[in-house]
Homo-oligomer: 254 residues x 2
């Protein structure tokens, strides 16, 4: 069995990509075979895993708009056990052209159907609620929603959950969701106040693990390495490992 | 004469909305009549200016998809001299349906044509390079690109400038652009290093004013007030005033 986790939030800059890379690397440390899928035209996930994004011939756009399988387009990264399905530049066309296909929502789910070698698939989404997040949520067992404890981020959560309701009603009744707080500043009273509000409003859907602000994450991205190998004993590496532990109860092992 | 400034960057969370609100309020302090246009389905600009975003009947979607003029849908805010064209919930449909219209790129430009009472129009865009930013750049005299001094943000600047080139070639040859560094952490060596690289790569296109990290900005948003009235003597208020001064040389007065 395989667990697909979509990482999505319409709000920009909440650490969707950072969470995909860091969580993926932490899951590999725990012995899982992981595929990270980059569905964002910005191709930040591919960049963070050290891929030369500009000349990529084959990528996620060929899987979503063409008929290539996910496995045929994926490639290894410098981290053994962590493969990536990179975003290529044609990804900019996907949002507009995917919707003309009949049952476009199921495109990613069918493309992943043959990817049996991976126990976990993490899907990085662009900051929107359009066709790309829709196909990712249709393919997912769980939606992981990174959010900052800031006014705009938390205000937008309602719309993300509207999307979850629509996907559950139409294409994926089993979809669950969890919220993870990122870039948390323990010394900031707005952050502490909003975290309390989040736990009050969303209860157990808010994961126990929070990811604090850690400048080492920024540095790791310049070097194209996940935080667990760039700075293995940093606070961010420890917290993303704790996140992997917390989520691994949801990963189904045969 | 009127100056239209589009605030856009595909990268999420780089302070596009924060810059629109703060710069707008600082321009009003300098005596300009300002209209802030919210083209983001998240409606964060409308929220930051204290509007009740749920339940808005008329908004930017009616201007872009319907045929309402910008003036008929704009409304006053708590700041005299700063009006807002709010985003309503139908904004989620605009990205997909705008492109079916003939010459859709000119939609915002024609909608703003009659808005003569405003000397400055600031347009907040969603984090993408699709139809909505395209119509905003077609209507604009200048594109203001907020960027953080971080790897993903600066890596994405090339694609934003690709969009500028396409818009210049097809619909708006006069379009200029400037880059403003936001959420700058003077104590962080990755930030300082990337700022030097930006100035090296983009020269005079990078504005002199940088906006430092200032927690007062987060607080101001919770209270639905621009920083210049919430915390008039804060560092962020001073820096956004300096940005208004730097940009006002580009604002054409009759
Ligand atoms: N815990 C953290 N501490 C410090 N910086 C962080 C942390 N998490 C992420 N960042 C930085 O914040 C920025 C935003 O993160 P990231 O790009 O992963 O967000 P995103 O949600 O994927 O953005 P987008 O909406 O553009 O896809 C990046 O420059 C990243 O390096
Ligand atoms: N100078 C600053 N200091 C501290 N926090 C800031 C600063 N500028 C913006 N922020 C905070 O950073 C977050 C991102 O800013 P904002 O929402 O304006 O970015 P955006 O580019 O409009 O995001 P999106 O891509 O989702 O539209 C907000 O929560 C805001 O309060
Ligand atoms: Mg991202
Ligand atoms: Mg915004």
């Amino acid at each position: 069995m395989r667990t697909v986790i979509a990482v999505s939030n319409q709000k920009g800059g909440v650490a969707k990509t950072t969470t995909c890379v860091s969580l993926g690397a932490a899951m590999v440390e725990r012995g899982f075979e992981v595929l990270a899928v980059d569905l964002d035209p910005q191709a930040n996930l591919s960049l963070a895993l050290g891929l030369p994004v500009n000349g990529l011939r084959r990528g996620a756009a060929d899987v979503l708009l063409g008929n290539l399988s996910a496995v045929s387009v994926s490639r290894a990264t410098a981290i053994a056990g962590l493969d990536v399905l990179p975003a290529n530049s044609a990804m900019h066309l996907v949002e507009r052209f995917l919707t003309v296909r009949q049952d476009y929502e199921y495109t990613l789910r069918s493309a992943l159907a043959a990817a049996h070698t991976f126990e976990i698939v993490l899907v990085d989404c662009p900051p929107s609620t359009g066709a790309i997040p829709y196909t990712a949520l249709t393919a997912a067992n769980m939606l992981l929603i990174p959010t900052q404890c800031e006014y705009f981020s938390t205000h937008g959560l309602g719309e993300v959950l509207d999307l979850v309701r629509r996907v559950r009603a139409r294409t994926n009744p089993q979809l669950s969701y969890r919220i993870v707080v990122t870039m948390f500043d323990r010394g900031n009273r707005v952050h502490r106040g909003i975290l309390d509000q989040l736990r009050g409003a969303f209860g157990a859907a808010v994961l126990d693990t929070t990811i604090d602000i850690d400048p080492k994450l920024r540095e790791s991205q310049v070097f194209g390495q996940p935080i667990t190998s760039y700075a293995p004993s940093s606070r961010a590496a420890q917290q993303y490992r704790a996140l992997a532990d917390e989520l691994s109860v949801y990963v189904r092992r045969e």
